[in-house]
Amino acid sequence: MSDINQLDDKTRAPVSQRPHRIEAGGEGIGANITVTIDGQDVKVPMGTTILEAAEKIGIRIPTLCHHKDLCVAGVCRICSVQVDGMRTLQAACAYPISQPMKIHTHTKKVRQARRHILDLMLSNHYGECYTCGRNGNCELQSLAQEYGVDFFRFGKMEEPIFEIDRSSHSVIRDMNKCIMCRRCVRTCIDLQEVGCLEAIGRGDETEIGTFMDKPLADVICINCGQCINRCPTGALRANDPTDDVWRAIDDPKKHVVIQTAPAPRAAIGECFGLEPGVPMTFEMNTALRMAGFDKVFDTNFTADLTIIEEGTELLLRLKQALVDKKGPVFLPQFTSCSPGWIKYIEHFYPDMLDNLSSAKSPQQMFGAVIKTYYAQLHNIDPKDIVTVALMPCSAKKFECNRPEMMDSGFKDVDYGLTTRELAKMLKEAGIDLPRMAKSDFDDPFGTATGSGVIFGATGGVMEAALRTVIELVVGIKVENLFDHANIMPVRGFEGIKYVELTIPDVGPVPDILKGLFDSWDFLKGVTVKVAVVHGTGNAKKVLDNIKAGGKFAECHFIEFMACPGGCLGGGGQPIPTTPEIRAARAKAIYAEDEAYEIRKSHENPAVLELYTKFLTEGPCGHKSHKLLHTHYTPRGKYIA
């Protein structure tokens, strides 16, 4: 794995914003250091920040610009603490301990400084809490409460001064609420390598802006919404369609169906005061019906469908490479479920679009199936169907508005709703989600598998694909190779994972694929190389490696997800997000997978029925190409 670690070294964050770890080791240093914080001794490894040391003994130091996913900034100064022997206060988040010291976290000087800093922020923040989407979930608001702010010492912003940028389908920017913590900048440039937002100008005119201050829709934004998840205030938020969704529900002529992705159910409980990691899948079904949705479907159904389509596509590419040996073969094949990732590659690597699977994302497949197959089956005019997609994602809002996503003859998916927005709708309807009775999804797409569920976590698509490919090709149960069919090597939060699997033997071609393959002999003895990548910053490293002919160029299949952690860390998920919260959500997702009776996509009876009754030419056939596959737009990097 040393190769991968080298890839990880290429952070472009300014030195000042990189965490400064003083490496342990060498003669005499590297030992633990004892520091005293508010009279309490704590022993920490050299290089630990004051903030981390305080956390260890339960002393809370307030923070704003600090975020566990991001490099150090040390700009808001709210975490200032006093250190004996130093004239100035130190930023606890940015100060690495390298010698014994006495630290005080709440002296008069510290309290006055924090209060002043808070007062300054409040004076430049359009603090219209009632009308703010982050009311009750705002870090600035909480700190104001914590520090007993009872008046605006340095005045307040009476009228908004910046125009709100509503140009994007996904992200809305309201700089009147920005407190310049630069978490979005570090997210966008360092974590995601998108480079849409930066600090512009100098002095009191400094603001967070885009290239040449253009609207978000006119610059390179992949809509991943990671900036939203890390914004402490309401300066960044998702484009909220709840009013339109209510209007559709209220319209008796409309048949409103909702599909729910796996990641929101593992997280929505957080919006109702539950600990992260408590799944709400079946409570949510009840709640959605109560709220007025006519049908509640499981996106996992089309996740399974995606596996069949994308898996077949992969096998076809492999056959082309190993047997037919003609024409250009585009390997590794890249997954295409993550709309943020799709927009990323369209902008930054337009010459690699052929490597993308042409399969639509599960959301869009579902939309197309609902407005065709389902409409036929229930004899509903598709123009009267409104499809809503509950997603952990802000980029899904952009995706459903792509002009090419109208293969049913209508807009395949009408509205993308985030986890946060659904929680808001349920609260508005007086529905206390955790107290709902459990109920199942609606037919005919009610059956889902564990493979569909794990799409919500990084590595999930790969694991689902491997489960299916192994069984279809090798002809033995996955359980014989991996305990409980849990393919552990592709799980976990490492940014880039690389796995090799040798196909020892092959079985007969299953019925569903007989039209496409005569035998699997060409795969016998082949070592399949796959990789799992999450966060577009990591994607960049892997794509550059492929371009340079590195080890990832040898891969056959690579899963890419735009968001760190995969969908469970999506830009539409409850705020805050931290590595711990994402791990808890992943645990819920994998637990749900284990609970399913059927855990492999190709065993999903509803999917098989769809192929018998509707997509009769089988996977990657003509009809599925029309409805379930798409094409991509080389957008390039140039900003007009």
Partner: protein, 173 residues
């Protein structure tokens, strides 16, 4: 912008990157070259530079917007920067400022419609003992009086090329 000019810019940037380097520390020197030759750093130029150095255009814009001697808007042939810091203020910079505005018909921060002059404020330029001081492009003028403003502007108008200023008073050096 004409395609040919874009090509020229692209070639220039490539050759500067060749000379100066294509790592991030070459950014500001390359931007200064662009500004020196083209008068300002256009959004197209920023994108070419970003591409060359493997960074994002917004990072280049961020840097350009930070430094007061880097311009992303087209600037005049002659950029006049009048020092407004206290020493020059005490020596009468207000009168000089008014005269500059009157003679050029523009305010600070603006460029004349003919594209010849841009008027800017500058913070202390290290001529505190000989103020009021102003810079015309790279060249410094000290002990400027309203009367001298007229002479400086006339010299600029008479000829393109900063050397035309040689005949005027006591520019430093």
């Amino acid at each position: 912008m004409l395609v040919t000019e874009q090509e020229r810019l692209r070639d220039d940037i490539a050759s500067w990157a060749q000379d100066i380097g294509s790592d991030r520390s070459a950014l500001i020197p390359i931007l200064q070259e662009i500004q020196g030759k083209y008068g300002h750093i256009s959004d197209f130029a920023m994108q070419i530079v970003a591409d060359k150095l493997g960074i994002h255009p917004v990072e280049v814009y961020s840097v350009v917007s930070f430094y007061s001697f880097l311009e992303f808007k087209p600037a005049g042939r002659f950029v006049i920067r009048l020092c407004r810091t206290i020493a020059c203020d005490m020596l009468g910079k207000d009168k000089v400022a008014t005269q500059l505005e009157n003679d050029l018909g523009i305010e600070f921060g603006e460029t004349t419609p003919d594209g010849k002059f841009t008027l800017e404020w500058a913070n202390c330029m290290g001529m505190c003992d000989q103020g009021p001081a102003l810079l015309v492009n790279d060249r410094v003028f000290t002990r400027v009086t309203p009367d001298k403003v007229t002479q400086i502007l006339e010299a600029c108008r008479k000829a393109f090329g900063i050397y035309a200023l040689g005949s005027i008073g006591e520019g430093h050096l």
